[in-house]
Each structure stands twice: as C-alpha cells, then as structure tokens.
C-alpha cells in the first residue's frame, strides 16, 4: 500500500509536535533552578518543595478534588441515564429539547453557562460556595458523560438484554446485571472525563463559587495574572501527571475489559 506517503507522515509529525511541545517545555521548566521560565539554569526540585508550604494552594487543591469527586460521580449517574434515554427511547415528548440540552452545553461558551447558573442560584436564594460549585460542575460534565456512554450504547447488542427479560429479570435487574457490566468501561471513562473537566474548569467555577471555595484553577489563574513563575509550572506539572495517570488507568481498564469480553464471547460460542 502506497497510501501512507511522506506528506502524511510529515503532517502528523508536525501536528503532534505542535500539540506536545508546549506541554513538554512547561514540564521541563518546572525543574529549572532559575526563577525565570525561559532561561535554563540547571536542574532543581525546589519549586515542588516550595509548593507544599503554600497553604492557599493546598487548600484550593483540596476543594478542587472534593468538588471533582462528588460532581464526577453524580454526573456519571445522570449522564448514563441521559444516554439510556437518548438511545433507548427514540420518541418521547420533548425529545428534541432533551437532545438539545445534551449537546448545547458541549459548545456553549463558558461565560454564558457560568453567568446563567450564577443568576439561577441568586434567584432561588442559594448562597454561593462549595455546593453551588458542585451543582454547576455536575450540570456541564453530565453532558460529556452522556455523549461518551451514548456512543457505546449505540453499538450495544440488545438481544442479550431481551434474553434476560425473557428469563424473568426485572428492568432494573437487567440493567444492573447485563447492561451495566457491558457498558462499564464507557461509564468509567465518562467518569474520568467528568473528573478532569471539573478539575480544570476556571470560568464556570469563578462565576458559581463563593467565599471559601476557591479551586486550583482559580488560584493558578490569579497567580498567572501576576506573572509566569516556575512554581506555577510545578503545579501544572503535577496536574498533568495526575491526568496522565488517570487516562492511562482508564485505557488499561477498558482494554483489559475488551479482551475479557472477546474471550467470554469466544468461550460462549465454543460451547
């Protein structure tokens, strides 16, 4: 096959260099001895040590992790239900509106989503803080979960569900014992996606959070405005590390699940 030409390879290499070089440089300069992030002055981990004495930053990290864990979990439940509703029930009243509300948050500018949620909380007299932040995160991340899970459900073989129902399983039991194990990798990667989106959101968080609930991106943002420092590079490197590990685990889990599923299927056919 001649299709994989030199031009193709060159465009991929350039494209990927463009995607990765800035991140690599950021990580490299977090280990810089000098206070400047543009001149290399030798290897040092002092900025990381300094991070652990920055109480404001540690507090913000703790808030961010709690919001992320709670919102990703609730968003995964809601998003999975939404994906089921979208794929299983092709017609119900207001389906157009429903699918609109799933897709619109994916592209909606964050300033609009943030402002509108803030005004909702003010209108119902809900004090801004940790919980408003969490509710806002659930709302915008659940749509991403819905899209991820939906794509898995579209290729789902429904005959095994029908078999379970024919054998007398209730819909809830069928869902928990048949459907959920099959779509579990997608649900899990939906959770990871929701968690990372919650972890890095700045704009929606700034609108919906209140005193005492400053997240890590909000803290980073306020420091970035004062200037670029290796300390920020160090925080960013840690965040990138966490995300990289998360993605790695997610892909390993889904791959081993996939292998297991293929094996199970082959075993089933062999009998």
């Amino acid at each position: 096959m001649q299709r994989w030409s030199r031009f193709n390879i060159a465009s991929i290499v350039i494209g990927f260099a463009f995607l990765y070089l800035p991140i690599v440089l950021l990580v490299v300069f977090s280990f810089n001895e000098s206070k400047l992030v543009t001149v290399w002055a030798g290897f040092s981990t002092k900025w990381y040590v300094q991070l652990f004495h920055n109480q404001a930053l540690l507090d913000a990290a703790w808030v961010t992790i709690r919001v992320g864990l709670i919102s990703a979990t609730v968003a995964t439940v809601l998003g999975t239900l939404a994906a089921l509703a979208m794929t299983r029930y092709t017609r119900f009243r207001g389906r157009m509106l429903f699918s609109g509300m799933i897709y619109a948050p994916l592209v909606m500018p964050e300033v609009i989503t943030g402002l509108s949620m803030l005004l909702l909380f003010v209108a119902i007299g809900f004090d801004r803080g940790f919980w408003t932040l969490t509710l806002a995160h659930i709302t915008f991340t659940m749509c991403f979960v819905a899209v991820v899970v939906q794509s898995r459900l579209l290729s789902f073989d429904r005959s095994i569900e029908e078999a379970a129902m024919d054998l007398g399983a209730t819909p809830v039991a069928t869902f928990l014992q048949v459907t959920l194990p099959v779509i579990a990798p997608a649900v899990f990667s939906g959770w990871v996606l929701a968690f990372t989106l919650s972890l890095d959101d700045l704009v929606i968080s700034s609108f919906t959070s209140g005193p005492g609930a400053t997240t890590l991106p909000m803290r980073i943002y306020s420091q970035v405005r004062l200037g670029v420092t290796p300390e920020i590079n160090a925080v960013c490197t840690i965040l990138i590390g966490i995300v990289a590990i998360g993605v790695l685990i997610a892909s390993v889990v889904s791959r081993s699940r996939e292998i297991q599923r293929v094996k199970d299927e082959q075993a089933a056919f062999a009998h």
Partner: protein, 303 residues
Amino acid sequence: MAKFGSALFNRLVIIIPYAWLLFFFLIPFFIVIRISLSETAVAMPPYLPVFDLASGFGGIIDNIKQFSIDNYIWLTEDALYTKAYISSLWIAGVSTFLTLLIAYPVAYGMAQAPNTIRPTLLMLVILPFWTSFLIRVYAWIAILKPEGLLNQLLLTLGVIDQPLIILNTNWAIYIGIVYSYLPFMVLPIYSSLEKMDHSLTEAAQDLGCTPIRAFWRVTFPLSLPGVVAGCMLVFIPAVGEFVIPDLLGGSETLMIGKTLWNEFNANRDWPVSAAVATILLLILVVPIMFFQHAQSKADAEGR
C-alpha cells in the same frame, strides 16, 4: 408488577436527567433574559426584583410592565460592545479557518496510516484534551514572550535580528485558539475520512483524475460532514472565549467573553452582562442548532 416496575423505570430514566437539565441549564437562560430586562440597582443582588410570585397573576402583569430595554439601548449606543461582538466573530472565524488548515492534513495522515498504529495516533490526539485548558494556554506565554523561547530560538538561528512581538497581539490569540481546539477539529474529520471507501478515489484516478483533482472532487466532499462538525466545535466556543484573550491577548483586544467578564466582575453590572450574554446567545443560536442537527443526523446513522 413487573410491568409496573418497567414503566416506572423507563419513566425515571428519562425524567431524572431531563428535570435536572431543565432546572440547571434551560431555566437559567430565561432568568438571564429576564434580568437583562431589569434595571441596574446599587444593591445585592444588584438588580431590581425579578418576579414576585406572592402578588399572584396581577403582580406578574405589573412586573412585565416594568420590563425595560434600557440595557439593550445602552449596548447599541456604546460602540465598544458592537466592536467586541464583531471582533469576536472575526477572531473566531480566522482561528477556525487556521485550525482547519492544520487539522485537515493531520486527520488525513491519520486516516491513511497503517491500521496497527491508528489507535495510538488517535489516543495521542485525544490526550491533550484531557490536560487542563488553562495550563495549555499558560504554556504559550513562556513561548511567545518577547524574551521567550520562540524568539530565543529564532534569534539563535539568525532568522530574525529583533524579537518578534507576538504576545498580547491578535496573533497570540489565533495561536492559542488553534492550539487549544485542534483536537476538536481533527477528531470529526478523521472519523469521516476513516469511514470513506478508498475504492472511490482509486476509481477517480483510474478514470484519469490527477491525485489532487481526485482529492478535491471525491475525498474532500465526502469528508464535509466532519469538516462542518469540527468547524462548529471550534467556532462556537471560540466566539465566547475568555481565558485565551485574557491571558494571551493585549489590552486593546476586544472579545465579548472578556467584555462580559469585566462587566460582571469589575463593574458589577449584572443586568448589562445579562444583556451581553443574551445577544451572544442569539448570535450563536443558529450555529448551535446547525451543530445539533448534524449531531442528531450522525447519531441516526450510527444507530
């Protein structure tokens, strides 16, 4: 019993997420519109009351009579806002075009790659999407600064004698948007190119088309759904972008997301920022509908 349980289960599957999105996503937009029609007040919250349901239907009618379009008149009178909308659309348009120029060859190269390495390439495109948006934008500051890494490199290579001023100009914003949104453009184009039947281009070439002509007459038209989806995924959020113009753009860069943010946080004028958001939403409603239509069509095909 089983039937009853099944009906209840089916209902709940739809009702729970539906109700959540109605309450936290749709209703807030109506509140935004309502507040954009109220008058600014020096108080907390800084606008006059929205609805006083206690006074019943008559109260609502009275309330509607108090609607004022002053905020919208204000927006049209101050040239700043009009300029900000136009420049946001322009910057988003240029960036979307540049993103397409870079993303298409990458997606095309990926679709032509041997089957064995395609999943790895796909993973590599998706991976940056998982790292923080803020961090990725921040990374560019150190590169684009006058004494930054790009200028150091170019000066050492002797390409330029004077540092290029890129940071705090529109070029920095273009770079930031292209960089941040590149995966959103690559993925849909790749998925439409990957599904393509290669015998079509071969047939075109057998019939005497040059490879370039075959590309424009056959491959490109077939990848259009992916191109359209990618452009929407980049253009719509880019119009309202805040982080990129704020960190990479200069003080004279006008983008509506930044204007809205300042109006809200610095001037504390909630009704005016609600009006800014309402108009932005009206501008974007057509592209958003277009995007949803394309998505539902893709879903229907996938089914």
